[in-house]
């Protein structure tokens, strides 16, 4: 029954093989090469500079900010989106009817373009907006995008708005897979609502929660559009993400060699961070006996 068919196998996978050759291996090798040159994207010539780009990047304040900004966004975005998504999932899951209708409604923000959500945020935060008029009456005049902490918060909130419904969908299907008998048994034992959530729902939800947490952490390493649109990485590099930094160095300052070095550093930081986060989440789950 098990017949080998090398020709067909390679033929059908050839689009991917070709693609990875041109758009993965090629760029990867080129990127390593660029990172040791001083090439500026337009000059006909370049010099090999060894590790100079890396040394400069490690000393650069804007690279330092890119490194830290990622974790600042994590601290803001991940808890907000996780709590909101869990709340939505638990709330919708408990509805006897119209469950899918609500889930689809909550999912809609995920379809937004970062450009559009940034425009809306800018409008809601404009000087003449009802919120700011009200705050000024209370004696508060806040330059939302010009203040480091609130600029971080705004971008974090836009992202949380976008991803809440998507993660809620994942969590709802996790809730659906929990056996109803567990709840019935708990009800007989006279468990309170709070105990029920913390002792039963959350542990049994952990596999889905793990998925959404990994996705959410991943999002923070790829933030670009909202920051590009709203702050340009400012004020004073307070929202300067890796992508923003690499984009600026490569396509505004035209430092292709240097930007490639920064991109390599960004990848290493991303890789190690994700690895540590995964391990941490797994150990956390195991220690609580959830896995």
């Amino acid at each position: 029954m098990d017949h080998r068919n090398n020709k067909m196998g390679w033929l059908f996978t050839s689009p991917y093989l070709l693609y990875s050759l041109i758009f993965f291996f090629g760029p990867l090798i080129w990127s390593f090469f660029l990172s040791v040159t001083d090439w500026n994207l337009i000059a006909p010539t370049f010099n090999l500079v060894g590790i100079e780009n890396f040394a400069n990047a490690l000393k650069s304040p804007s690279v330092h900010s890119a490194f830290w900004v990622t974790y600042k966004f994590m601290i803001i975005f991940v808890p907000i989106v996780t709590v909101l998504a869990t709340a939505v999932a638990v709330l919708v899951h408990g509805l006897p009817r119209f469950k899918s209708l609500f889930l689809i409604g909550f999912f809609l923000p995920y379809l937004s373009s970062g450009v559009v959500s940034s425009l809306i945020a800018k409008g809601l935060l404009s000087y003449t907006s009802p919120m700011n008029v009200f705050l000024r009456k209370m004696g508060l005049d806040i330059d939302w995008l010009g203040t480091p902490l609130s600029a971080l918060g705004i971008v974090g909130l836009i992202l949380a708005w976008k991803f809440t419904g998507y993660y809620a969908l994942i969590l709802t299907s996790g809730l659906e897979s929990i056996d109803k008998e567990v709840y019935e048994a708990a009800a007989i034992d006279g468990v309170t609502d709070r105990q029920r959530f913390w002792r039963i729902t959350l542990p049994l939800l952990y596999p889905s929660l793990y998925t959404t947490l990994i996705l959410a952490f991943g999002v923070t390493f790829g933030i670009f559009t909202e920051v590009y649109q709203l702050t340009g990485g400012g004020p004073n590099n307070a929202t300067n993400t890796w992508q923003m930094e690499i984009f600026k160095q490569a396509f505004t300052n035209l430092q292709a060699g240097y930007a490639s070095a920064v991109a390599l550093l960004a990848s290493v930081a991303t890789f190690i961070s994700i690895f540590i986060i995964r391990k941490f989440l797994e150990i956390w789950g195991k220690r609580n006996g959830w896995v």
Binding site: D2, P15, Y16, Y19, W30, V88, I104, V116, S117
Partner: protein
């Protein structure tokens, strides 16, 4: 007994009310965008819900208003449609093809390719941005449709999803079809695809949405006005139209509503597919 029934009734009502309020908060930004696109210009960004309306913002899109130079909004919209559809269709076709081979064909190197797809999927793509740009530039595709489409013609996620799905399709079907003399192409088209309708809806919508809202790549690879996608054009007009937010809201509605309408049309199928893909 009556008391507990009423209690449950109250709790249920509270639940619905909470869910409704939360949902309203979540969709409010969209509502704000659409209403402001129709708002009288003196009312834009001044009220939670504008009270006076006009079509000036949409008119401005096509006439350029006081600037006198209309920006190519409609053309950008068509570019977006073309590029997104072409990209997405290619990602789907290649996804099905590669996944079929990786799940149902037995050939030398299959496991290696399978593992590599996973590695590739989780690889930080940011390293590849600059050299990919340079490759496209060197082969003369800078500022062209192919430059927008080709680097986004294969989706690792689509391959991964289809591979997992196809693995669950019993091999018996395929063996039977083979005995009847069906070719692999026919098996893919006649057996695998019809069986995977719901997951295909999910993959298609996710890919289309992602391609439709792409900014970074579409921004660096395009130079001339006639190649701009709508998302990039809105992004570019942020500064110049800073004091005319109306047309930007109108363009944003033009960008957002088609994808939302499409999603609502496919909503039911999408949910079925999501349920499957999350199992």
């Amino acid at each position: 007994m009556v008391g507990s029934n009423r209690n449950r009734g109250i709790r249920r009502t509270v639940r619905y009310a909470l869910a409704m309020i939360l949902l309203l908060v979540m969709v409010y930004p969209y509502l704000y965008m659409v209403l402001n696109s129709f708002a009288d210009w003196a009312h834009i960004d001044k009220q939670l819900l504008p009270t006076k309306y006009s079509l000036k913002s949409y008119e401005w899109l096509f006439t350029g208003g006081e600037t006198g130079i209309p920006r190519p909004w409609l053309h950008a919209f068509l570019n977006s449609v073309m590029v997104s559809l072409a990209s997405t269709v290619l990602m789907m076709i290649f996804g099905v093809m590669v996944a079929y081979a990786l799940s149902k064909l037995n050939f030398f190197g299959r496991n290696a390719i399978n593992n590599f797809v996973l590695f590739h999927m989780f690889f930080p793509a940011i390293i590849l941005l600059i050299p990919t740009f340079l490759i496209i530039q060197r082969v003369g595709l800078y500022d062209s449709y192919l430059g927008l489409i080709l680097p986004k013609a294969v989706s690792l996620w689509a391959i991964f999803m289809y591979t997992n799905f196809f693995k669950a399709v019993p091999t018996v079907f395929i063996e039977a079809a083979r005995l009847d003399g069906a070719s692999d192409l026919k098996i893919m088209y006649k057996i695998m695809l019809p069986m995977s309708k719901s997951i295909t809806t999910v993959i298609f919508l996710f890919l289309l949405m992602e391609r439709w809202t792409e900014l970074l790549w579409d921004m660096i690879i395009v130079k001339s006005d006639r190649m701009l996608t709508l998302n990039v054009l809105i992004s570019q007009m942020f500064g110049p139209y800073g004091s005319y937010p109306g047309p930007l809201y109108a363009a944003s509605a033009l960008l957002t509503l088609p994808i939302i309408i499409m999603f609502i049309i496919f909503g039911k199928k999408f949910q079925e597919g999501m349920q499957f893909s999350l199992k």
